[in-house]
Amino acid sequence: MTTTTAQATQVYQVFIKATPEAIWDAITKPEFTARYFYGSIFDTTWEPGAPLAGWAADRSQQYVDGEILEVSPPTRLVTTWRALYDAETAAEPHSRVTWEIEPGEDGVTKLTVIHDELESAPMTAANVAGGWMYVLSGLKTLLETGEPLAG
């Protein structure tokens, strides 16, 4: 088994049969995020400089904190990101998450998540890969079928 160091820049991409506007809503509105983002809702005004707080839907636990850096609906959203669900990741500095939404032909839109600035956050880097795959797979399923992923 080869030892793998978690990457300081990670890129996740998925093609979704939905409009950029629908994808933007799915990223920013709690009625959508609660259905594919580990049941999370995000408290923020989605304005540059505003704080970002990701909570469990019942607000029993805060999962994420950060700050909104850039907002260009429906194509680009940049925030800082610190995962609070684990004591080790919570102790690390903020990293950065960029959402890029690019329309194509035939009603298919490309969604890319770039999680970078993870150089000083190795635990977070090691921790998020499975999470982003689950989130993007769930987001695609929700928008294309109207149903969240099973399980």
Binding site: T2, T4, T5, Q7, T9, Q10, V11, Y12, Q13, V14, F15, I16, K17, G104, E105, D106, V108, K110, T112, I114, A129, W132, M133, Y134, L136, S137, K140, T141, L149, G151
Partner: protein, 109 residues
């Protein structure tokens, strides 16, 4: 640009040992240039480019510019989608069948 959201391209891209090897190299260390990837393969630059293009068209590799360099990143999401669609589904049925068999045998014992 037309993007293919079908599984066909992913299966075709994975059906080649050199392309699977390239994915494993990127899994070990992501964000590599063509020159770095080429140096680890017994293959011409053109050959590696061709394989990377197939992987890119299948969405398994994405590229981003960093200064003058073009970096290649592994995108694991299509593999996850195939897993959800083609592996989880059948594994669950198999597990369910075994669970049913156990119940049946225990009830008749």
């Amino acid at each position: 640009m037309v993007w293919d959201v079908d599984d066909d391209r992913v299966f075709k891209a994975l059906a080649d040992p050199t392309r699977r090897h390239l994915l494993d190299r990127l899994y070990e260390r992501d964000g590599r240039t063509l020159t770095e990837l080429e140096s680890e393969l017994e293959m011409t630059r053109f050959g590696v480019m061709k394989h990377l293009r197939v992987l890119e068209e299948a969405g398994l590799v994405t590229t981003r510019r960093s200064g003058r360099e073009k970096l290649h990143f592994l995108n694991p999401v299509p593999i996850r989608l195939i897993h959800d669609r083609w592996i989880d589904k059948y594994r669950e049925r198999r597990v369910a069948a075994l669970a049913d068999l156990k119940t049946e045998l225990e009830e008749s014992a």
